[in-house]
Symmetry: C2
Subunit: 417 residues, 2 copies
């Protein structure tokens, strides 16, 4: 039994359930029961669902069996079928529980996107049919991940796009909250698998969530957080399988600034590449990274130190899977720019601390460096943003570093936010 | 290599491929090659496909796992996903062969139906997007079996609905031909599994095809034939796996009347029920069959003989699967009308001869009865239409009867139609 606060009675709630929450008919029926509880409490409910379990992967495999380079428009046609199955099944499950429900595809609710197939961006949402169905007392079930161009072609929003559908619908409908149901029960001060006393955060700000998503926390897709921030949609990240409240992602308020560091994230899927003794003259960086961009290689952290003897070293991190491709592209670039060579390291991890309080507190980065130093962990690269500090370290120290930082910033301690 | 007649060059061709023709990626690629041949010859091609293999059955099973009585609107939402996968895959297969192609769902091509979910009827087709894509030189791939109500809800046309989509699009586009690709290579004078010298018919009339479809030939769905007749769409039934021409289903012409009997059909899936010694007074038949209709039991042949001693026997056939349900419904009715009892027989078959030539030839029925009599086959029920005669016989004689009739009417003999 999910009990919503009294003050939430009669709200408009958008809920999003991911693929693992609707992986089979039993799970869909269990989601239906959860939705029905909300509806029984008088809330107007709009439910966004993903394709069941590994359906999207199977559809991609089918297309790959046809051709290694599927036409993107047709890929979207195939992919969009996955969510269409789930919405129909969930709506019939709700109806069989006695809750009138009505499912809609992305195109049917006027989820208008640009024409960049498989990676479309939302332009606007009419959502008229949703309003009508809500007014008729129905639970509305909407296919996540999909939309339609102005000219009526089916598009998809890219991996994790169902989160975006949920947040975008919540914005369009001016919903009171967008609840993202997932297999974790909220956003933690650190990965609980690494830090046993990691604490579930009651609230984080959009900016913190954005940094955390970018820095390795996998709970929410970064684009959805951006969208939520832009339209001030309160997002509630919570567990599909437990009734407890999760983490509210909301606008920043004064009280949040009292907390210097909100969480520690780490990303072990990285590699580090360096281009050595590059001539230290204008235009070099653009030449180096232009060369990589041409190969569609997306780099993450970039560090360039001051030159010595008229030359400098440039280092950057990137997803480990792209390392080999990047290394050979970089070797070509190295020759062109007259660098002495290329060095690669697969065994690095990025550890970051995130918190809006950093803006108003000094000495945070220094404390991070000191903590790592105490553990004899060498820092290979440093990068900072307004509300985050990241260090690249040797991979084998990643867990130790996260635990040490979690302790140093006293993140296990409960506090009023 | 499929060679179209010279006179067909540059035609507008609608092709429909069923589920077994597109059951896996290899089969889809093979269909794509066949379509590409037609396109390479300068034809404008519109391809209608069903869901892959047993996809529709799996989707029905998924829905049944949610609830034994799925909401029909949501059932259609789920079912329509099947064809959507196939159209995307076929279009990308065509594109990978270098033939620009474009897939559309039923709703996207403006296939407007009534709102009877899972059994919708087509109201009109706008087909504007098809015209535009054809003009742009594309092969157009359309999802069979599905449409949309005026208010934008997804509907399906019932089992076999993809044939109907093909014929309806051919009518709307004024196509030169609608080719129905299937796992048999045409319409035969009798089931070749029963009659070894059964002959493939080069042509049959719409009416003959209709009777044959109703009387047990499974090659074309009866509603599609009605539609083809209404809009004079030439339908070509042919094999997915062989290049040879199949059977043209066309408007009747003078020459067809020279052939008295075109084919012999049989249906072994029937049962016979009789209600015995019913009082012979007006309104009895309506009372009997009204009672059955209330139970949604569809009866096939009905025979009532003249009364004797103020009472009569009424017999009818129906699908064997409905026998038990019908028998208990009939027992109730028997009491109400004061009949003496009910008799049931599962072991019956219906054997029919079909031919437009019957209209202008006499003695056809007599020859049928004589043929069966010569084989010592007792006729239990007789029913006639303008172009067909059907006899219900003991099931074990069905194949013998079909072979004897095929011989008696010399159907193995090649002739000019």
């Amino acid at each position: 039994m999910v009990v919503y606060d009294d003050c939430l009675m009669g709200q408009l709630i958008v809920q999003k359930y991911g693929g693992s929450s609707v992986a089979d008919p039993e799970k869909i029926k269990s989601v239906a029961r959860r939705v029905a509880e909300g509806a029984a409490q008088g809330h107007r409910m709009v439910i966004v669902v993903s394709a069941m379990g590994k359906t999207t992967d199977s559809l991609v495999a089918l297309a790959q069996a046809i051709t290694p380079t599927p036409d993107p428009r047709e890929m979207d046609m195939v992919l969009a079928s996955g969510e269409q199955i789930t919405i129909g099944l969930l709506a019939m499950a709700l109806a069989s529980l006695g809750h009138p429900a009505c499912s809609f595809t992305g195109p049917q609710v006027g989820m208008i996107t640009d024409g960049v197939h498989t990676q479309a961006r939302i332009r606007r949402i009419t959502a008229e049919r949703i309003q009508t169905a809500l007014e008729a007392g129905k639970v509305v079930v909407v296919a996540g991940f999909q939309g339609m161009t102005e000219s009526g072609d089916i598009t998809t929003l890219g991996r994790g796009g169902s989160d975006l559908t949920g947040v975008a619908l919540a914005a369009a409908l001016k919903a009171d909250v967008c609840e993202i149901f997932t297999d974790v029960d909220g956003v933690y001060t650190a990965d609980p698998n690494v830090v046993p006393d990691a604490r579930k955060l009651a609230r984080v700000s959009y900016d913190e969530m954005l940094e955390m998503a970018a820095l390795g926390a996998k709970v929410l897709q970064a684009r959805s957080v951006e969208f939520a921030k832009k339209f001030s949609v309160p997002v509630h990240v919570r567990s599909t399988f437990k009734p407890d409240p999760g983490t509210m992602v909301t606008r920043e308020d004064r009280s949040m600034e009292d907390v210097v560091v909100t969480g520690v994230t780490h990303d072990r899927g990285q590699a580090k590449l360096s281009i050595l003794r590059v001539p230290d003259r204008p235009g070099i960086a653009s030449q180096v990274f232009g060369g990589l961009a041409k190969q569609n290689i997306v780099v993450d952290m970039i560090v360039q130190n001051i030159g010595r003897d008229g030359s400098t070293d440039i280092s950057f991190t990137l997803p480990r899977a792209d390392r080999q491709r990047a290394e050979s592209a970089l070797a070509t670039v190295a020759k062109e720019v007259g660098a002495s060579g290329v060095a690669a390291d697969d065994r690095v991890a990025k550890v970051s601390i995130v918190g809006v309080g950093m803006r108003s507190h000094s000495g945070v980065a220094a404390r991070m460096f000191e903590t790592l130093s105490k553990e004899n962990i060498n820092i290979q690269m440093i990068s900072t943003s307004e509300i985050a500090v990241s260090c690249v370290i040797e991979d084998k120290y990643a867990e130790l570093a996260v635990r040490a930082l979690h302790d140093a910033f006293e993140l296990a301690k409960e506090r009023e936010a």
